[in-house]
């Protein structure tokens, strides 16, 4: 009887899938365009250490993850004014070493399949803000969401 119980416990202990181990994605730094002037576009590169957005991921070595951005088309400002944003085909980057200087660029507008080398990685995001000539002055904000599915 005692032998049967022991075997059962060991079997359940080994059944925990790798993908269900602790995984996470955390926003570290916002995408900041700073001071903008009406009629003057400003681009932030994904390699900009101060102004690019950064998300830190925790996964499992050798595992894969699908990265999907939900990107805003505009930022919203005073009295409901909107400021257009553009994200291009090379505006996102994945770094398996969490280094902004060592990224693989990808298009943030489509899902990207990344592979973990260690158990941590980072995703960086740039973009372009296009204020109009008559852009209302003031502070503008928007949100970017990164969804990561770990396999």
């Amino acid at each position: 009887m005692r032998v049967s119980l022991t075997i059962l416990s060991l079997a359940f202990g080994a059944a925990l899938p790798l993908a269900a181990q602790q995984t996470s994605v955390v926003g570290v730094r916002p995408l900041a365009f700073g001071a903008l002037f009406p009629g003057v576009p400003r681009a932030v590169l994904r390699t900009d250490p101060a102004n690019s957005a950064q998300f830190d991921l925790k996964g499992h070595p050798g595992g894969s993850a699908s990265l999907t951005f939900l990107l805003p088309a505009v930022m919203t400002g005073p009295a409901g004014a909107t400021l257009p944003l553009v994200f291009g085909g090379n505006d996102a980057g994945f770094s398996g070493s969490q280094s902004i200087t060592s990224q693989v660029g990808f298009d943030p507008r489509t899902p990207y399949l990344a592979t973990f080398t260690g158990n941590r990685a980072s995703v960086f995001l740039g973009g372009t803000a296009n204020p109009s000539v008559g852009q209302r002055a003031g502070a503008y904000t928007g949100t970017v969401t990164l969804t990561v599915v770990f396999f």
């Binding site: 032998v3 900041a32 365009f33 903008l36 400003r42 502070a139 503008y140 990561v148």
Partner: protein
């Protein structure tokens, strides 16, 4: 023994079934921010007018506070840093030029007793006023020195002021 074997088989089956569908999903949201400054406007409110001047009489001009002095008004983002650059054309009448010397000041209030502009060749850095409206005023005066044989007539030129955010 037989019971233990059956239990172990059941557990292993659970492991096999779970491995094909195991996934974990996480997401995080980050802000995107910007601050749009007011556009800079530069208005030439008043021309620099020397009026009638006489050959061979030395330097003739006006004080900065004179109604004949030139005046620019600048508006923009309160407390913003800006750079002012001048382009001064010769005072001329056809091929004839009239020697010109300029002096200027700038102030965050409309008063000529401000900070002297040291040179018209290189840009001058300064800051717009704070408060509800960012403003700056520039006063331009000077002297002309007609030669004794200066050709009579109307002489004119331009002073262009460009202001940009820094």
């Amino acid at each position: 023994m037989h019971t233990a074997t059956k239990v172990a088989v059941l557990a292993l089956a659970l492991v096999a079934a779970g491995a094909t569908t195991a996934q974990a999903q996480n997401n995080a949201t980050m802000n995107v921010t910007a601050n749009v400054f007011r556009p800079i406007t530069v208005a030439a409110d008043r021309n620099l007018v020397f009026g009638n001047v006489f050959p061979g009489q030395g330097a003739q001009g006006m004080a900065l506070g004179s109604p004949a002095a030139g005046h620019f008004s600048i508006t923009g983002e309160p407390s913003a840093s800006v750079s002012m650059a001048f382009v001064v054309s010769p005072l001329s009448q056809g091929a004839n030029t009239l020697p010109l010397t300029l002096n200027a000041t700038y102030n965050t209030v409309d008063n000529a007793a401000g900070t002297s502009i040291v040179t018209f060749v290189a840009p001058t850095a300064t800051t717009l006023s704070g408060g509800a409206s960012g403003q700056l005023f520039v006063y331009v005066a000077g002297t002309v020195t007609p030669a004794a044989n200066q050709v009579a007539g109307n002489y004119s030129g331009t002073i262009q002021l460009t202001v940009i955010y820094q």
